[in-house]
Amino acid sequence: MNTPLVRQQPLREYTRIHGLGAYRPELVVTNDDICQWIDSSDEWIRQRTGIVTRHRAPREVSVVDMAEHASREALAAAGIDAAQLGAVLVSTVTHPHVTPSAAAQLADRLGATPAAAYDISAACAGYCYGIAQADALVHAGTAEYVLVVGVEKLSDFIDNADRTISFLLGDGAGAAVVGPAGSAGIGPSVWGSDGSKHEAIRMTRSLLDVRDYALSPATSDGVSNGENTIPADLWPTMLQDGPTVFRWAVWEMAKVAQRALDIAGITADQLVAFVPHQANIRIIDEMVKQLKMPEHVAVARDIVDAGNTSAASIPLAMHRLLKEQPQLSGGLALQIGFGAGLVFGAQVVVLP
């Protein structure tokens, strides 16, 4: 059989991050605010987590709104018009619609239609998953420029009385434009998952439980449901097994971070910055120790003011680092995200 030849996209050799953008909601929640809901103190929260404040968005501000703010800044920083985007990837676990995606709306708002658009559900590893995909798409010639957004409105899925994770969490958005480059700008991605630990960070219940309750009879008095009582915590919120996650995050993720360095042919002393997911300052400090990070490497500690913003934390922290230390631009940073799934992703990148 004489099969006609299919033309395949030529590969592009190099990719890089061309620009970053960030959005931090105005409302600042202090530890004293948190202590209205849990029996704790500012000192206890600082000691255990390093967090002093976290930002949270009001009801009228959506995931797509926050993503749009960060994306416009990233596009401007990259000097790229939205029409040049071949794909828009939004990493989030807090867009409150099963479908359609936040990415399609975002692409349209930005003027990127008809760019390919989809959401990535990889929790705190979402941004690194997005960079892995964007890098591959640009490499393969599937898209020329790709917008990667990490955005979360975690405040919609917390229980203020929960002591396991809710008090850590904040809202925000970070965005990056990935595109072709004249030299290597994104090292190979080390990414993966371990679903055997899917309960280590989880929701209190599924949406089906909420539906079953809402559709069941005898809820008109708002309290009783036949023989059941409406659980005060009917709405699904997040929970974690802190010590298990801590152990995995530090000792397993330090190995992943080291692999990302090794596979990129880079040693820790060649880095200018280390930007780990901002989960807890004690995880960050312990990872720095495990990786024997030299003193000259700037370590992102945005968590102090921003809390844990899941998929948004790495681009927010990197954006801030570059704002405060612009001389780091052009240097190498190691970024690593890890979280619910459990999932992880890491790369060495050239800072835009």
Partner: protein
């Protein structure tokens, strides 16, 4: 294989490094949380360092049962046996 005294001394060293507590305050009957004021995150750091030092595996679900220093010493001793 280390004796209980050696395990206790090694554990005291690890606790001292993580918390700054004097090694001699780490005694067999002391509770990690109530007496030594060690939180769950520090406990995990101690556990991982103890695994490395004594060449044993202490699973997450076992950590909850290690209430006192003595519990940890016996667990490590039996895991080494």
């Amino acid at each position: 294989m280390a004796s209980n005294e050696e395990i206790l001394a090694g554990l005291a060293e690890i606790v001292n490094e993580e918390t700054g507590l004097a090694p001699e305050s780490v005694e067999m009957d002391k509770s990690f949380t109530d007496d030594l004021d060690i939180d769950s995150i520090s406990m995990m750091t101690i556990v991982v360092n103890a695994e490395e030092k004594f060449g044993v595996r202490i699973p997450d679900e076992e950590v909850k049962n290690l209430k006192t220093v003595g519990d940890a010493v016996s667990f490590i001793a039996s895991a080494q046996a």
